[in-house]
């Protein structure tokens, strides 16, 4: 009686090749995003423009900073729900002349969300918009209350 050892070969060569291509494509995407500075993709987002975002914290508050050049205050919407701050809006393009137009800037809708690690006092959130930089200061709260809060910008 021959006892044949069963070798688990893991993935077939074909499957491994596909995985390598997928990994290469992901790496290219990362490289590509990195080299273009503030143009980030947000998974699941429908917009082409995902503004660059920083999040800072000290013992009393979080500060979220977003680069949003060329907007008016009225074009920016902020909302806070279940500890997630969402910054969204639309940058409109002015009507151009019929002549040549070289175009690098991105227009249209944008949206970024930040999940804050601890709860914040929604009614004490303050935001400023200056030199194209939006700064949102969120004081930390002792307890979390699940509710939707609309935040207005000063």
């Amino acid at each position: 009686m021959n006892i044949i050892r069963y070798h688990n070969q893991g993935q077939s060569d074909l499957a491994q090749t596909f995985d390598r291509f997928a990994a290469l494509r992901d790496e290219m995407d990362r490289l590509f995003d990195g080299s273009f500075g503030p143009v980030f993709r947000t998974p699941g987002s429908f917009s082409r423009w995902a503004p660059a975002l920083d999040v800072y914290q000290d013992k009393d508050q979080f500060t979220v900073v977003a680069e949003l050049p060329g907007l008016k205050k009225e074009d920016i919407e902020l909302s806070l729900q279940n500890g997630v701050l969402t910054i969204s809006g639309e940058r409109k393009q002015e009507k151009k002349s019929e002549e040549g137009y070289r175009n690098e800037r991105i227009f249209g809708r944008f949206q970024r969300s930040v999940t804050l690690p601890t709860s914040v006092a929604g009614d004490k959130v303050k935001a400023t918009y200056q030199d194209g930089i939006l700064k949102v200061v969120l004081p930390k709260a002792e307890e979390a209350k699940p509710k939707q809060i609309e935040v207005s910008i000063d």
């Binding site: 508050q61 050049p69 060329g70 194209g132 700064k135």
Partner: protein, 125 residues
């Protein structure tokens, strides 16, 4: 269509004053009367703007204000470099009439053509 006929492709770290710069995104609109250039420079205000014309080149520099936030960074995506971009000017631009303003991080530069060099219709006698 080339009025800003050539752009200098110097990498960010090779500017002559050894400061690290990045090139801002720029839109250029061209018309018979001249050009309007809009550069994205978030974090830059009036005091940080330096615009010079030398040897037929337009040099745009925007020095960024350092971010004043309290606390430690949890997540960073912004790059705190200042901005620089150089264009070779079409000779039809009247350098004395170049004007600029900055609003919410967008630098707009108006580059009018010299009057006698604008396109014109010649009518038959």
């Amino acid at each position: 269509m080339n009025i800003l006929s050539q752009e200098h492709q110097k990498p960010a770290h090779q500017s002559t004053d050894h400061t690290a710069y990045v090139a801002p995104y720029v839109d250029i609109e061209s018309m018979d009367s001249g050009y309007v250039l809009c550069a994205e420079m978030p974090g830059v205000n009036r005091d940080g703007i330096e615009i010079t014309v030398e040897d037929g080149n337009l040099v745009l520099i925007g020095q960024r204000q350092p971010l004043s936030v309290s606390g430690e960074p949890l997540h960073r995506e912004t790059r705190q470099f200042s901005y620089r971009r150089v264009y070779e000017l079409d000779p039809s631009i009247d350098a004395n009439k170049i004007s600029a303003r900055i609003e919410q991080g967008i630098l707009s530069v108006n580059l009018p053509k010299a009057e006698n060099l604008k396109p014109r219709r010649i009518t038959l006698e």
